[in-house]
Symmetry: C2
Subunit: 146 residues, 2 copies
DNA sequence: TTAGATAGTTCTAATTAGGAACTTAATAGT
DNA sequence: ACTATTAAGTTCCTAATTAGAACTATCTAA
């Protein structure tokens, strides 16, 4: 099976990964979430080839994750904005941050911290059960066919 | 910049992706979470090449995400178990499931459902603030240098 | 003695990624 | 008028990775 066929599987992990699961894509989205919107800035920041960046941005646009917006006429200049579908990827990035903070940090500690603006506190975002409020860890959960 | 250098960046997203951010790795881990532990079964289930599977498993073992366990002597046979570090990847998979359910589902609806065994209910795992209990969405959060 | 199970390795061809230079269009400076 | 700069890509060539298939090794059961 080739990688580009995994989106056809009846599996939400596979389908999500078919959009964001290749090299660079989530790093590009990290930058977009941090406010970087332009091709040049993304390329400079991430250091990936312009070729690849163009290809990934096109794919994200096709999937409706980013919107290519003309921010200046003459010469035509475009930048990239998150759609609703794109903004909704945030929990994926946050869970990557959390895992990296916990398991990949060096002795300088976590590079960034997350502030919950509603309550003003520095937090470590965690999954919770929306029904009972309990913390969610792997052994608490069972996955079954819907 | 080459992909294999991103783990050296001072960024928890980049560091996490240097471990699980390539094609197939998170799909392999999905299967391991669902109880598939053996090389043959993973290969059959996922349909990736044996070559790549071996390489990915080796890398996950090196990173301490999986443990290669001899489950039979003579002939020596091994399977793969999640370490604590590996189990802790669960929120990443769950957030991928959530996004796929919401944005990539077909008319058959989400393929699987998650049951919180502690309270017995079918849930959609969501990030919540451990301090105030509020739901976490991108606009509520600010990320800053630690 | 032949087939099957298990966990890989090896080989070649096809695809993808990396690096650098080029394009187009407008503006600002000299 | 000429040159440099900004911006968003494209094009071309080479290097690395992936896909697909076959092969290896070891033991068990028929």
């Amino acid at each position: 099976m080739r990688w580009d066929e995994i989106g056809e599987l009846r599996c939400s992990v596979a389908r999500s990964l078919s959009v964001v699961g290749d090299r660079w894509t989530l790093l590009i989205l990290r930058d977009v979430f941090l406010g970087v919107r332009r091709f040049e800035d993304l390329q400079r920041n991430l250091g990936l080839t312009r070729h690849l960046l163009a290809e990934r941005l096109r794919k994200l646009e096709e999937h409706g994750v980013l919107l290519r917006v003309r921010y200046r006429e003459r010469p035509a200049r475009y930048d990239y904005r998150l759609t609703r579908k794109g903004v909704d990827l945030y929990p994926i990035l946050l869970s990557l941050v959390r895992w990296g903070d916990r398991w990949m940090a060096d002795d300088l500690g976590p590079p960034m911290q997350v502030v919950h603006q509603t309550c003003g506190r520095v937090i470590a975002p965690a999954l919770q059960c929306p029904e009972c409020g309990g913390n969610l860890t792997a052994p608490d959960l069972r996955v079954e066919l819907a």
